[in-house]
């Protein structure tokens, strides 16, 4: 008898918690849980109307997120401006040295450019693709623990498509994974889900650059017979047929016998990016 009463109590408590709406609640928990599950099922559906609504929702939330981040952005800008003023003299000396070094490098680069163009003529290289880069601003840089990604301010309106390579300067930093009408998500090479086919030079070894949610992605499936040294350069290999080959990514850094990649671009300092739109029909 007592058992029955306690079971009734549990039933009443569950009904009260899940189904009954209090005076100020407009929805019951049960209805909203059901709606969330319905949303999850919608993720698997690829209908045009559903995609459009999803894209519109995401665009709206990204704009809201951008607006919310303005005050903190402004505050951190003021702090960094103050820090820059404090370190002005130190920076001036550093820039003087950098300038000296760059001047000596320019003459060397000019020679290499000339040599490169002569070699290209020699092998009669024919361009198989015309490259048309699109520029975008990083709207939101939310380094989520689950997803290392950026939101950029171009999307379907600028013919951006999933899988396109995203560059910071000349360096590869990620690829487009989600396109809305006015915005897109860039999955960075450091993300857990990022796997890129790469080439390690000068050994010519092929490998997979694999992100782990940390700053330094690792090189996997490296041939053991090839000698990989610290400082070797890493480029996209283009083997997967998505990205063009030869886009610089970073250089080899060996830590505890694990071959890692020190990226050429600091992912925390990226404000503008280039999206490589390639017309392979030409």
């Amino acid at each position: 008898m007592e058992y029955g009463t306690s079971r009734d109590d549990v039933g009443i408590a569950i009904r009260s918690a899940f189904l009954r709406k209090s005076s100020k609640q407009k929805f019951s928990l049960f209805a909203l849980i059901f709606l969330s599950i319905f949303f999850l099922f919608l993720e698997a559906i690829d209908w045009k109307i559903v995609n459009q609504i999803r894209s519109l929702t995401k665009d709206t939330i990204y704009r809201g997120s951008l607006m919310v981040s303005y005050p903190t952005k402004g505050f951190s800008e003021i702090i960094s401006l103050g820090n820059e003023h404090i370190n002005l003299y130190e920076k001036y000396n550093q820039l003087k040295e950098d300038n000296k070094k760059l001047k000596s490098d320019i003459s060397r680069n000019k020679f290499l450019e000339l040599e490169n163009s002569q070699l290209r003529k020699l092998i009669d290289e024919k361009s198989t693709s015309s490259i048309n880069d699109k520029f975008a601003r990083v709207m939101l840089d939310i380094q989520s623990p689950y997803l290392n990604s950026f939101i950029i301010n171009v999307g379907g309106n600028q013919s951006i498509k999933n899988g396109m390579a995203v560059l910071h300067g000349k360096n590869f930093i990620g690829r487009i994974v989600d396109v809305n009408y006015f915005s897109s998500r860039v999955l960075l090479v450091s993300d857990l889900n990022s796997k890129i086919a790469v080439l390690v030079e000068p050994s010519g070894s092929h490998a997979i650059l694999s992100g782990h949610g940390e700053q330094l992605p690792t090189l996997e499936y490296l041939s053991k017979s090839l000698d990989i040294k610290e400082g070797d350069k890493i480029y996209t290999s283009g083997k997967e047929g998505i990205f063009s080959p030869g886009i610089p990514i970073g250089e080899v850094k060996i830590e505890n016998k694990i071959v890692k990649t020190s990226l050429f671009s600091d992912l925390k300092q990226v404000s503008f990016v280039k999206i490589r739109v390639e017309d392979k029909t030409k």
């Binding site: 408590a13 407009k26 928990l29 709606l35 969330s36 999850l40 993720e43 919310v68 939310i142 989520s144």
Partner: protein, 164 residues
Amino acid sequence: MAGTFKNIRIKVFQSLPLIILFYISFKGSAVVDFNLFSINISYILVYYWVLRKPDILGYGYIFLAGIIIDVVFGFPLGVNALSLLIVASVAAYIRVVTVRITLLNDWISFIPALLIANFIFFISLYFTDFPIDYLYLFKNSAFTFIFYPFLWIFFSLISKLIEL
């Protein structure tokens, strides 16, 4: 005049949990990531307010905040909304079956809320083919639990200001 001022003050403090929830959702700070650990602030916030003052944090707002977190963090739509609603469900059930309000009671009853919500989170991501670091998820749950009393004190302060 004094009555009007008091009403405004109460309204402001009553809206504070909702403002914090939407702020952290839009800002992408629902999960605060430190170098060694991370804390899911949205779970604690939803659990505390649904348990203590359910009229302040409507379930519809919790659902909306979950959708915003999903979009901002790049999860499939509905994953965080569902896990936040699960936290709210456990809190609503605990509210019905308990009488005494103590930090210890709240803290212990937060364990099933956290476990069920993260299990649902894990299952939803598993079925939507979204790979995540499971060790990270485990550490996140553990530190969210450890951090609960700190936010409990902070929210209790807000709660007292509403009642004043």
